[in-house]
């Protein structure tokens, strides 16, 4: 975090995004969401509401799920950001991504990046969640298409697959 007194000019911010170090020249109050989408071309995170209600802008910041529309980019300096683009290893999909495909977890797809990251965050805290725990963990991510059932199935399936290699 820089020690400089604020001004209406851009600042240099260094952070890691999907494992790659980045240095950006940005206004400190730009939203992390906009910086990811516009400066870094990582358009997976979406703006659904701009008020931290829908979760479609969710990313992982130092392993914590956050709504990137509510994070001033200055506050992400020095942190490790993971977006949906960083979830897979090369061509191999993450277990959650594959499970979403197999179980119908994505319909229109707009909530999907945030939903998958929220699920990933949930599974790192609770590797074998019950369906109540899944619903609670995803309660901050709104989906208008699926009614959630197939998303819950997908997360449970991903958990099962990871537990039984």
């Amino acid at each position: 975090m820089s020690n400089s007194v604020g001004s209406r000019s851009k600042v240099n911010i260094s952070l890691t995004v999907n494992g790659e170090p980045k240095t950006l020249s940005v206004y400190p109050m730009e939203r992390l969401l906009d910086v990811l989408r516009l400066d870094l071309g990582l358009t997976g995170a979406k703006e659904g509401c701009g008020e931290g209600e829908c979760g479609s802008c969710s990313v992982l910041m130092d392993g914590m799920l956050v709504n990137s529309c509510l994070v001033p980019v200055l506050q992400s300096a020095g942190s490790n950001i993971v977006t949906i683009e960083g979830l897979q290893a090369g061509e191999t999909l993450h277990a959650l991504q594959q499970a979403f495909l197999d179980c119908g977890g994505a319909q229109c797809g707009i909530c999907t990046p945030g939903m998958i990251l929220a699920a990933s965050h949930l599974l790192s805290a609770i590797p074998e969640p019950t369906s109540e725990e899944i619903r609670e963990g995803l309660a901050g991510n709104l989906c208008r298409c699926t009614g959630y059932s197939q998303i819950v199935e997908a997360v449970a399936e991903a958990a099962r697959r990871r537990m039984t290699p």
Partner: protein, 778 residues
């Protein structure tokens, strides 16, 4: 456990194009849960929605909107403090063609010129290279109005204290008559009368409306955006920009949810983006934020339904009158069609010996209401299914028995005198739904449990139908065209203007073509919905894609096969490799290989547009839904704890997708019933943010259990009927019926919030406080 009733089937032939014999009937792709065509891009964040696209030299647009519901614009001034030279400013005067959004009528201006008719009506457009400069600029446009009196409810519109549209505030009326209604009242043992109302509902697609437009003097106007119906926009832009068909191009981007909210509305935002692009000579991106989208765009039509029914003492409907009225907002848009569908469905899946349905759509000074999944049917079916429970009470029958006695049977006629030709057995469907949901056992248990504590539980049912495709002569009028192309690489491409927005268009149409051609699913894809590349297969609405468009895809695909066979490039039975070779050869010889199919109305099917009588829809899907609810008397909150959705849908083309559609539709309808209230003030939505407009989260919904029956359908691809909208019709009345079962109190209006329940229980002396004071109660 309420797990969804669907066994995960193994995905068919992932990605292997091995050399194998394919016989026409043995490749069973239709009916299997194949991978979603565009699924991989969706789960990896690679899909491109309109706001993900950036064009060089692009400007950003914004809309200056009316702050009053009705009046005359006196003066527009541009405040100091903004460098207005940097902005592109568009007003009605800049419109090259006709200042209207061409749809059914031409009454809706693209930009208000002098008169405004609703809050949020667009007046001016601004564009600037820096999107961050726009909000302040919009605020700095000062508009002086001469405000006029405005009206906001159906009743105000009917009283005509102000005439805000036409001569009498009435957009459209329909009268549907069957039998001799006036003679039955004297014969009735009971006359059951009640009024039911439903509120506005916001579609709340998670991706807001957005468009990018670019103009070139030679090529004309191109727009890319979030949309359902490319050719609706195409038509609107031709009139607006005064351009011929070949100089207007509309391209659909990946679309993040629609539900009807992107059926007609996108023509407006496309028009705005186009005008800015034309004036500036640069591409313009116009994307709404959530607050603007909720306040300014279309919502479900609020409704009021009045039932008056003559019933015999054994619970049979002798006849009745239904007055069905919807609030269309300030302009015509699609209200006549919403009205039509609502009116036709108003009688539910029951036999009416006689009936008179008086339907009207009226104008108010709200932003125009529009298409939303169900399209009038959720409104009129809410009333019908609540009314059946009321009839049951009056006559002294159970809700299940009264329905049994009135269900339509094969051979009987609907309210529009359409003969039910298929062998649907609604009694059996009801029995199955009751069995799966353990309706009787639970009702018994709840009656006991409700004696003590502050929790009340109840069960409720709804039986209903939904007609697929356009009403009556609509499909003939649409005259949809579908193409299937044999490509130079030997693969197959489906050419339709039908769009994907989560419901699976790309997947099922690929399945159908692949099945028809005996090819693997992987060999077929859909072309991007680009009016320059695809024909007009009609709008992606009315639950018509699988049934109507799918059938055309099937026949166009068969045309490809037939052409190759009759050109002696292929035998009747062939392998994938053989097909590929033949296709490549044909393209080499002819340059292009396309097979077309145009909609032909089935023979022997009649519809009278004047009398509104006849075969309203080629096919109906039928359903019985069962809801289990819990009401906590401490907070008056209702939760839906179990939900069974059983429907007959012709043929399930893709089990996983079909189930997903039903669960999603039920979830939206639970929102319609219990959570989603639009708070209006002077015609403006006050709660236009997700914080205060409440849709259910994952924690609020139970696992929704989905079951299908398949009777087939001669008019649909592989026997399919439409299913997209059906799930919206049943849950609300089932839930309110369940609440009545739990509390013994009848509610006739949705959304039904805890505050409403508390008010009523208080009035009846049933709230906890009044019980303590020795008031009435169980």
């Amino acid at each position: 456990m309420g797990a969804v009733c669907h066994t995960l089937s193994r995905i068919c032939t992932p990605g292997r194009a091995a050399n194998f014999e394919i016989r026409m009937n043995s490749a069973r792709i239709v009916g299997k849960s194949v991978p979603r065509k565009e699924g991989r891009d969706k789960v990896t964040g690679k899909s491109h929605y309109v706001d993900d696209m950036v064009l060089p030299n692009m400007l950003f647009g914004a809309t200056v909107r009316s702050q009053i519901p009705r009046g005359r614009i006196k003066k527009i001034s541009f405040a100091a403090g903004i460098n207005w030279d940097e902005f592109v400013i568009v007003s009605a005067k800049d419109i090259p063609g006709k200042n209207c959004i061409s749809l059914i009528g031409d009454d809706q201006p693209c930009l208000a010129n002098e008169i405004v008719s609703h809050p949020e009506e667009p007046i001016l457009l601004l564009a600037h290279p820096d999107r961050h400069c726009l909000a302040k600029a919009v605020q700095a446009v000062e508009i002086e109005y001469e405000p006029w009196l405005a009206i906001f409810t159906i009743e105000e519109s009917e009283h005509r204290s102000e005439t805000v549209w036409g001569n009498d505030n009435v957009f459209k009326t329909y009268v549907i008559e069957k039998g001799d209604v006036d003679s039955i009242w004297a014969k009735a043992d009971f006359i059951v009368e009640a009024e039911y109302t439903t509120g506005a509902q916001e579609q709340l697609y998670i991706e807001n409306n957005g468009m990018i437009a670019a103009f070139d003097a030679d090529k004309g106007i191109t727009v890319w955006g979030s949309l359902q119906c490319p050719y609706y926009i195409h038509k609107a832009l031709m009139a607006l920009c005064n351009l011929p068909a070949e100089k207007v191009r509309v391209v659909q981007m990946e679309t993040g949810g629609a539900f009807g909210g992107k059926e007609e509305y996108p023509s407006i935002i496309a028009a705005h983006a186009a005008l800015l692009a034309i004036k500036s000579g640069r591409p313009v991106k116009l994307v709404y934020d959530r607050m603007e989208d909720m306040a300014a765009t279309t919502k479900r039509h609020p409704s009021r339904t009045r039932h008056r029914t003559a019933v015999s003492k054994d619970g049979k409907i002798l006849g009745g009158e239904i007055e069905f009225t919807i609030d269309g907002g300030a302009y015509l848009t699609l209200s006549p069609v919403v009205l039509s569908r609502g009116a036709i469905h108003a009688g539910g899946p029951y036999y009416w010996p006689s009936i008179r349905i008086l339907a009207k759509a009226v104008a108010t000074n709200a932003p125009p209401h529009g298409a939303f999944r169900g399209f009038g049917a959720p409104q009129s079916l809410f009333a019908m299914e609540r009314h059946m429970d009321r009839i049951a009470q009056v006559v002294g029958l159970s809700p299940t028995e009264v329905r049994r006695r009135n269900f339509l049977q094969p051979g009987e006629t609907t309210t529009t005198e359409q003969i039910v030709r298929e062998q649907i057995d609604l009694k059996k469907l009801l029995d199955r739904a009751l069995h799966i949901s353990e309706y009787q056992e639970k009702k018994l248990r709840f009656t006991k449990e409700n004696q003590h504590g502050n929790i009340r539980k109840g069960m409720g049912i709804a039986a209903f139908l939904h007609g697929a495709g356009f009403t009556g002569s609509g499909e003939r009028y649409l005259s949809s065209v579908v193409g299937v192309e044999g490509c130079a690489d030997g693969n197959v491409c489906v050419l339709v203007s039908s769009t994907e927005f989560g419901q699976g268009t790309k997947t099922i149409l690929s399945q159908i073509a692949a099945e028809a051609l005996g090819l693997p699913y992987e060999s077929v894809c859909l072309a991007q919905a680009d009016t320059m590349e695809v024909p007009n297969s009609g709008p992606t609405v009315a639950s018509r894609t699988a049934m109507v468009v799918g059938k055309l895809v099937q026949s166009a695909a068969l045309g490809i096969r037939q052409t190759l066979i009759s050109s002696n490039l292929l035998r009747e039975s062939y392998s994938l490799d053989e097909f590929r070779r033949a296709c490549k050869q044909y393209v080499k010889e002819h340059g292009e290989f396309r097979s077309w199919s145009r909609y032909e109305p089935p023979t022997g099917v009649f519809w009278d547009d004047e009398k509104y009588r006849g075969e309203a829809y080629a096919a109906y899907a039928w359903a019985v839904y069962v809801a289990e609810v819990t009401i906590d008397l401490t907070t008056y909150s209702v939760s839906v704890d179990d939900f069974v959705a059983l429907q007959e849908v012709g043929k399930v083309l893709h089990p996983l997708l079909a189930e997903g559609q039903v669960v999603g539709g039920v979830a939206q309808a639970i929102g319609f019933a219990l959570y989603e209230k639009v708070v209006w003030q002077n015609g403006r939505m006050q709660n236009s943010q997700m914080t205060n407009y409440i849709m259910p989260t994952a924690s609020d919904l139970p696992p929704i259990r989905v079951f299908f029956e398949e009777l087939g359908n001669v008019y649909g691809a592989y026997g399919a009927k439409g299913i997209g909208e059906l799930p919206m019709d049943g849950p609300a009345p089932a839930i309110v019926n369940a609440i009545e079962d739990a509390l013994g109190v009848s509610f006739d209006s949705i959304p039904l919030l805890p505050e409403d329940i508390m008010d009523r229980l208080n009035a009846n002396g049933m709230a906890l406080a009044s019980q303590e004071n020795g008031g009435g109660g169980r």
